[in-house]
């Protein structure tokens, strides 16, 4: 039994390490040139039609205003409703939307379970028996989220698998991993569903297992189906970070750091400092006009040798 607990710790740890290192990798890339695309969500009022501060004569005389609330709303619409897919690829949205919403609900279920355990550790609620109103609220919210999540994910997953296997535009690009990603999730959904249906106490068992993990109290678990689920979820945690499912985290950067990133460079600003640092990076590109060995600042301020020679 101890192996099950150790494997769970390991998978959670590796999942966190891999996800954090990926986030760290994206967050620690150097400053890049502006590469925004309009509409930019935080443009006050102009975001409705895709306008920007460049529409204003003398925009550079003052700091551009940003509507952060509008940005949050745009993210919410995109993450929860998959607005982009809805607008541009409706056929896919009919399955992608329930699939993603289902996954969000299942993830919320996990978070509710962890929260229940934490509250239980502070003796604020019960997890093994449902006695008071707060216990009921937590329990039935968890039940609602997990069943809705499983049903939606199942429908979405089946639909996406069928589309991927039958639609020519997907087939041309399909790789085994594309199928494995969906099949893995499908197996997980089926496995969790079976466990929930056949074992009335599996939700309570989940909370107890999480509590055991947190308190390092590695007690025996006899429910085979439950053990199977723990193993599958642990494997999924290990598998997830090596797949393109990591777009879940990358999306923050593609929107905030690229698509909506429109900060103006001003003298004496932090941004200018970062640009100066980057301009001092070395160049090793080897085409003749690139002048390998110089810094970017030197390359930018020197003409290619053939022009310099001609001038002399």
């Amino acid at each position: 039994m101890i192996i099950l607990y150790l494997f769970s710790y390991l998978s959670i740890l590796l999942f966190l390490v891999m996800v954090i290192s990926k986030i760290f990798k994206y967050a620690n890339t150097p400053v890049h040139v502006r590469w925004e695309l309009y509409p930019v969500a935080h443009e006050p009022k102009r975001n409705k039609y895709g306008g920007s501060h460049y529409e204003e004569e003398g925009f550079w005389k003052h700091k551009a205003k940003k509507n952060h609330l509008a940005e949050l709303w745009a993210m919410f619409e995109e993450i929860v409703f998959l607005k982009g897919v809805y607008l541009h690829n409706k056929k896919l949205w009919y399955f992608s939307f329930p699939f993603h919403l289902g996954l969000y609900l299942i993830t919320t279920t996990f978070m509710l379970i962890v929260l229940s355990v934490i509250l239980n550790l502070f003796s604020l609620i019960n997890i093994s028996v449902i006695q008071n109103p707060v216990d009921y609220i937590f329990h039935y919210l968890t039940v609602l989220f997990v069943y809705a999540g499983l049903i939606l994910t199942f429908i979405g997953c089946i639909g996406l698998l069928i589309q991927r296997a039958t639609d020519k535009k997907f087939k041309f690009y399909n790789t085994p991993m594309d199928y494995i990603n969906l099949l893995f999730i499908l197996v997980l959904v089926i496995s969790i569903s079976i466990t929930l249906v056949f074992s009335n106490s599996s939700l309570i068992l989940s909370k107890e297992f999480v509590k055991n993990l947190i308190t390092f109290n590695w007690v025996d678990i006899k429910d085979v189906l439950f053990i199977l689920n723990v193993l599958l979820i642990s494997l999924f945690l290990l598998y997830f970070p090596i797949t393109r499912m990591m777009h879940l985290f990358a999306k923050y950067f593609t929107y905030h750091d690229v698509r909506w990133e429109d900060e103006q460079n001003v003298r004496g600003s932090k941004l200018e400092k970062k640009v100066k640092e980057a301009l001092n990076f070395g160049v090793s590109w080897s085409a003749p006009h690139m002048q390998t060995g110089k810094t970017w600042a030197e390359v930018a301020t020197t003409f290619p040798p053939e022009i310099e020679n001609e001038k002399r």
Partner: protein
């Protein structure tokens, strides 16, 4: 999916000979009066060109890559490509776009949401190699296998068990020049993957490491600009002659005498035009001068090397050239001590010197840079000039240049002007930030070599032409003259060639021109119409 030589993406590296043979019959159909339009046969490369040049992608050659003669030569090129790919993904060599590139390379889930947003892919009859994700997928699999050194098992899982050979590199290089970098695909992507960026970065790798770039962009483009002052090869002495000629023409045409202000120190505005305007559309230079003079703007142009041609082709293929040209523009502004640089009607010049150069400039090089559109809007609605909109009482539609609109968000000022000055203004669909590229973006407008103009005029311009025809359907009779307002020099170049290809003036009475020409045409002070109804 039409292509039957490829069953999967791996075949891109395996197919012998040309992968795709384009047939104009597959291209999207055009509305009235083009229901029966038959495209002329696509010009083929000559036998000699076929023998010498790589053309195995689709029979076109933008880069004119010579075929390597020996296996050793091929191996060296493959090795160089891989070393360039490594640099493309490194912090020092590619800080300029590393984060957006990594995000796009590592997170595409191939949902195909972008596919129908690409006007080239859809209007080609859905040719697989033109699908937005195609080139990115090839590159990803090469990175997985050759740079990430995935295990054989992992390669099988991710489909990265593909072979890299010279033919693949040559095809990929050409394929990066079948995308106009309009970035509609990126705009539609729910994750934010930018396939336009991937095309641009492949071009960069080819240029900065292997020295492969389109002749019109590099040797006859940015290199010529750094050497002579303009990508057209016009030096400062020749420029003065041209300006004199324009001043005389302006007087003949309008009776207005203007001495173009040159190198005026301490002016408020340094106006920089795309030099194409001087040579092909001098009426644009005249119109700007009339408007600025009548409005009392304290402005100047430069006749010094580096200050009179706003083009910056590096934007499309090479970071070093991009930075060098941008810094030349800034140098001139600093020498003149102007308050601000104002970009004339040129989309890519807007983007290169405004948002992009923003992260190249430091200290006193951070000179304010503005678009002409808000300034023109300010002038038109200031009351300083009297207008009679009935002078523009003909159908007008507006083309949105991708670089100024989708990439910079300058959407309304030009519309505000047109809605006021052109009673018959109508939008084309889609418009604003959702516009279609003119088909000449990313340098295609100036690429006239070999058989490429047939690809541009017949294919990449086609969706834009369809939009124009749709916008004018209610007035399509050729006796009713119609105006496509295209406030971008490169787009105008595409319109010139594309409308001529489709014989659009004779068949539908359509011409094109800039924004300032419409403003001047509506001025009460002008006795004769400023716009001439001919396809120039």
């Amino acid at each position: 999916m039409k292509n039957d030589k490829m069953k999967s993406i791996k075949d891109f590296t395996k197919v012998n000979g040309q992968i795709v043979e384009l047939n104009p019959e597959d291209f999207i159909k055009l509305p009235h009066p083009y229901e029966d339009w038959v495209d002329p046969p696509i010009k083929q490369l000559t036998e000699d060109q076929k023998k010498r040049l790589e053309h195995s992608l689709d029979g076109f050659s933008v880069l004119g890559l010579p075929k390597p003669q020996t296996d050793e030569e091929k191996e060296k090129l493959v090795a160089k490509f891989l070393s360039g790919l490594k640099k493309l993904l490194s912090k020092e060599d590619n800080w300029i776009l590393l984060q957006p590139l990594l995000l796009s390379m590592e997170n595409c889930v191939k949902c195909q949401t972008c596919s129908d947003e690409c006007p080239i892919y859809t209007s080609s009859g859905r040719e697989e190699i033109y699908r937005p994700i195609f080139r990115g997928e090839v590159l990803r699999r090469i990175v997985n296998k050759y740079l990430n050194h995935e295990s054989k098992f992992h390669q099988k899982l991710t489909g990265s068990d593909i072979d890299l050979n010279w033919e693949t590199i040559a095809r990929l290089a050409e394929l990066s020049y079948r995308c106009t970098l309009c970035r509609r695909c990126a705009q539609a992507c729910p994750i934010g993957i930018d396939n336009g960026l991937i095309s641009r970065e492949i071009r960069k790798l080819m240029s900065q490491e292997l020295g492969f770039a389109a002749e019109e962009l590099h040797n006859s483009g940015s290199m010529k600009q750094l050497k002579t002052g303009s990508s057209t090869g016009t030096n400062p002495t020749a420029l003065l002659d041209i300006i004199e000629f324009i001043e005389e023409d302006l007087k003949d045409l309008t009776g207005i005498e203007i001495k173009m202000p040159l190198n005026k120190k301490g002016a408020d505005v340094l106006l920089i035009h795309n030099f194409g305007e001087f040579l092909s559309w001098p009426e644009n230079i005249m119109a700007f001068a009339i408007i600025f003079e009548k409005a009392g703007i304290n402005w100047t142009m430069s006749s010094e090397m580096g200050g009179y041609d706003s083009v910056n082709y590096g934007l499309w293929y090479d970071d070093a050239q991009l930075a060098r040209v941008a810094l030349e523009h800034i140098r001139i502004a600093k020498e003149l001590g102007v308050n601000r640089i104002v970009m004339g009607e040129c989309g890519h010049a807007h983007k290169a010197l405004m948002p992009i150069a923003d992260r190249i400039l430091v200290d006193d090089s951070i000179v304010p840079r503005e678009s002409a559109f808000p300034l023109l809007e300010e002038i038109v609605f200031s009351g300083k000039i009297k207008f009679d909109p009935s002078k523009n009482n003909f159908p007008v539609t507006l083309h949105d240049p991708c670089n100024a609109v989708r990439a910079m968000g300058i959407v309304e000022p030009q519309r505000h002007i047109l809605k006021y000055l052109c009673p018959q203004f109508r939008e084309m669909e889609p418009h604003g930030v959702n516009n279609y590229c003119c088909g000449g973006g990313s340098g295609f407008a100036i690429m006239q070599g070999k058989n490429f103009p047939d690809w541009r005029n017949g294919l990449s311009f086609r969706p834009k032409f369809k939009q124009i025809l749709d916008a004018f359907q209610d007035e399509i009779d050729p006796s009713i003259y119609k105006y496509v307002c295209s406030p971008c020099s490169n787009c105008k170049g595409t319109f010139r060639d594309g409308l001529t290809y489709f014989n659009a003036f004779e068949k539908a009475g359509i011409i094109y021109g800039g924004l300032v020409e419409l403003i001047v045409n509506a001025m009460v002070d002008l006795e004769k119409p400023f716009i001439e109804w001919e396809l120039k």
